[in-house]
Structure formats: structure tokens, C-alpha cells
């Protein structure tokens, strides 16, 4: 694996950040997700939505150290096997599927797949005449004590919203 960049946590603003050799800063935040609790009606803790962003929109050549760093962060996240992670791509700019596929490729190459399982749902939200497509992935540790519940809620979300 390529050498990851050193990353740091901004205590005040509550995100992780690292700077690449091309002087591009990436930031990673974890949103405390309450979707599963809201949908299920009972408390489901330790679910976070990950958000990864470059500070600027500067184009960058492929830098394998970036994915290595993200992998390090995610591997550390799952040291607590009760943590679960949601990755969401909406399709408002018609690039949702592209980002979804990039994340899937990263996961397959990550070396985490023996312990960290991924379930994908493509959700079509029918609201009036509008359809919003949401590409989502749920990552959970194989030793998560609540994995059956979490997966059931995740599947239920898809089932309900895919109903016309």
C-alpha cells in the first residue's frame, strides 16, 4: 500500500484533514446519522455518514496516497466494531453513479473486505412527479452486534422509498 499522508483532527471545527504533495487539502467529516433511529423508531447508535471533500476544486493528477489515507482513516474508524458508516451520493448533477462506482472500486481494492462488509442500495425517491435517485453504501464490521437490525432498517428504507 502506498504511504498514507499524515492526517490531523481540527478540534474546533470537528473534521480530519491532510495535505497532499501537490498542496491540495482534503477534509473528512463524520456526521452523526440519525436516519436509522428516525426510520426504525428505536435508538440505533454509532452510525455516521462520511463526507470527503477537497477544499478547492483544483484538478489533481491521480494520487494513490489519497486513497491510502482515506483507507487508513476508515480502518481506524472500524477499530470500534460497533461503528457503521453510510456513504451517500445524490444524482442532482448526474454524476452520482460515477462517484458511487469510484467508491465501490476503492472498497474492493482496500484490503478491508474480509472484516468490513458493504451493502449497496440505490434508492429512488418518488415524491409527486419528481424522482430523486440516491446511491448509498452501508459499511459495517462483521462483528457488529446490531448488524441484522441495521441491515433490516437499511433495506426497509429502500423498499419504502422505491414504492410508487
Amino acid at each position: 500500500m502506498p504511504i498514507p499522508y499524515n492526517y490531523y483532527f481540527n478540534d474546533h471545527l470537528q473534521f480530519y484533514y491532510f495535505t497532499t504533495k501537490n498542496n491540495i487539502e482534503y477534509r473528512v467529516a463524520f456526521i452523526l446519522d440519525e436516519t436509522f433511529t428516525a426510520v426504525s423508531g428505536f435508538e440505533i447508535n454509532n452510525i455516521f455518514q462520511i463526507v470527503i471533500e477537497k477544499v478547492n476544486d483544483t484538478l489533481e493528477k491521480l494520487d494513490v496516497q489519497v486513497s491510502a489515507t482515506i483507507q487508513t482513516i476508515i480502518a481506524r474508524f472500524f477499530i470500534n466494531s460497533q461503528n457503521s458508516m453510510i456513504y451517500v451520493c445524490d444524482d442532482k448533477d448526474k454524476k452520482g453513479i460515477k462517484r458511487f462506482n469510484v467508491f465501490n472500486r476503492w472498497y474492493k481494492k482496500s484490503g478491508l473486505i474480509s472484516e468490513i462488509k458493504k451493502k449497496d442500495n440505490i434508492i429512488k425517491c418518488y415524491s409527486g412527479d419528481e424522482v430523486l435517485i440516491i446511491y448509498s453504501s452501508l459499511l459495517y464490521h462483521q462483528n457488529n452486534k446490531n448488524k441484522e437490525t441495521i441491515i433490516e432498517v437499511y433495506n426497509t428504507i429502500q423498499e419504502i422509498l422505491n414504492e410508487k
Binding site: F9, L13, I31, L32, A38, K54, F77, L132, T156, I157
Partner: protein
Amino acid sequence: MKKITRNKQQVLDSVTKMVSDKNTVQMFLKGKTSIDTLKQKGITLANPL
């Protein structure tokens, strides 16, 4: 396991908020919105590592 709600509107609202929260946090990470905005929208960032 307890029964999961089948209230479509409630589920739609929850998922819409999840996507909206992501968009807001993306803006925040780019420095285009403040942490106070996140608080106003009920978004909590965590340090789970």
C-alpha cells in the same frame, strides 16, 4: 426485533435530510458555510476515530 415504521413520508423526510446534511457539510468543508449553520440545521459532526 421491534416493528419498523412504514410511514413513507417520515422515511422520505429522514432520507432527504440525510442528503441535505451531506450537501451542507460539503459546503462547510469547502469553507463556504459556518459551523453555526450546521448547528442551526441540527447537524452534529463527530470524532469517532
